[in-house]
């Protein structure tokens, strides 16, 4: 099965692999971040996956000024958030609603820490001053000790 061509191809690929390892290795800070990401593991919370992102819709339906809308769905509840830049543009503001509406504690986790706000009886909540980057929301309902719902990560 191994022809001279196969051998030549293999040798060329090996040379290329060595060159790429040298000129474009996985940056060590990213490998560190990947190793640390296990600390974000959550057990026993329902995962709400991102099912809609208005920023990914075609330009025809998106206006440059319209806020970005993100929808997370799970069996426990649906969470919709609107993302806008704070005045000055350096940080982000979220306006959120949990459906079906109920009071909740909403923790917004980002890679540098977290902020917790309360959602009112209509399930609405607001938070400002978030750093741009990856975030996820963890919701506790009815005074539970652990979050029952957690969204997937999204970059804002």
């Amino acid at each position: 099965m191994s022809s001279p061509d196969d051998t030549n191809d293999r040798e060329l690929l090996e040379a290329l692999g060595a060159v790429l390892d040298e000129i474009d290795p996985v940056p060590e800070f990213l490998a560190d971040a990947a190793r640390m990401s296990l600390s974000w593991r959550t057990v026993d919370a329902e995962l709400a996956e991102l099912t809609a992102d208005s920023a990914l819709e075609g330009p025809a339906v998106r206006s440059a000024r319209a806020p970005r809308m993100l929808t997370f769905d799970s069996d426990v509840a649906t969470v919709v958030i609107e993302v806008t830049a704070d005045v000055g543009g350096a940080t982000r503001q979220l306006l959120g609603q949990i459906l079906h509406p109920r009071p909740a504690e909403v923790q917004i986790r980002h890679l540098g820490g977290s902020v917790t706000v309360s959602a009112d009886e209509h399930g609405r909540f607001r938070v400002a001053g978030l750093p741009p980057g990856l975030i996820r929301l963890a919701c506790r309902f009815g005074g539970a000790a652990q979050p029952q719902l957690i969204t997937s990560w999204v970059t804002i």
Binding site: E14, A15, I23, L30, A33, S37, L38, L56, T155
Partner: protein, 184 residues
């Protein structure tokens, strides 16, 4: 210690075993990086996508249906996140056999620690390949080599097209190397 299977590592990591998780990162970080770099993202976007891919895996550790196919799952996830970032930025991706803008896709030889002229020549020739060939060859040289189904997932192409494309890209790389030798 016996060499643990990916399935064993996924199970242990799902239970919070940091060492098992570190081993998964060590095994698959080159593959994820190859997928991300194959999409020609900016350094900041590439870092975001790489990080997001591992966070997604943490989210799904306990829910993976076929942990033995982790390379395919990681490839598909990294591709999905790369495309999302590209769409958010509205960038176009050209698609021909030889790049229009030689040298733009990979760091030039001046940025590398080169042992031999041959390695420099390979780096230059690689940077002149089309984006599509660069993406495929990056995956094929990742260590450990991903399965063709993982490569297909990473590039969004049918598995049956990978062999022929591999052949065409290697011929293009060899042609570029020959041209460089001839003009040197």
């Amino acid at each position: 210690m016996p060499y643990p299977s990916t399935t064993d590592l996924v199970r242990a990591a799902a239970g919070g075993d940091q060492q098992a998780w570190n081993e998964l990162v060590e095994r698959y970080k080159r593959l994820v990086w190859a997928v991300v770099r194959g999409h020609r993202l900016s350094p900041a976007d590439a870092a975001d996508v790489f990080q997001t891919t591992w966070l997604r895996l943490v989210e799904h550790l306990g829910r993976l249906r076929e942990p033995e196919h982790l390379s395919g799952w990681l490839s598909a996830t990294a591709r999905h996140e790369s495309l999302r970032v590209l769409r958010l930025g509205h960038r176009e991706r050209p698609d021909e056999n030889i790049a229009d803008d030689p040298g733009a896709a990979a760091p030039g030889p001046e940025s590398a620690l080169l042992d031999t002229e041959e390695r420099a020549a390979v780096a230059v020739a690689f940077s002149r390949l089309s984006e599509r060939c660069q993406a495929l060859l990056r995956l094929l040289v990742a260590d450990p080599a991903p399965s063709y189904s993982a490569v297909g997932a990473a590039l969004g192409v049918p598995v049956g097209s990978i062999g022929p494309t591999r052949g065409r890209c290697l011929r293009a790389l060899r042609r570029l190397l020959d041209e460089q030798t001839a003009s040197a």
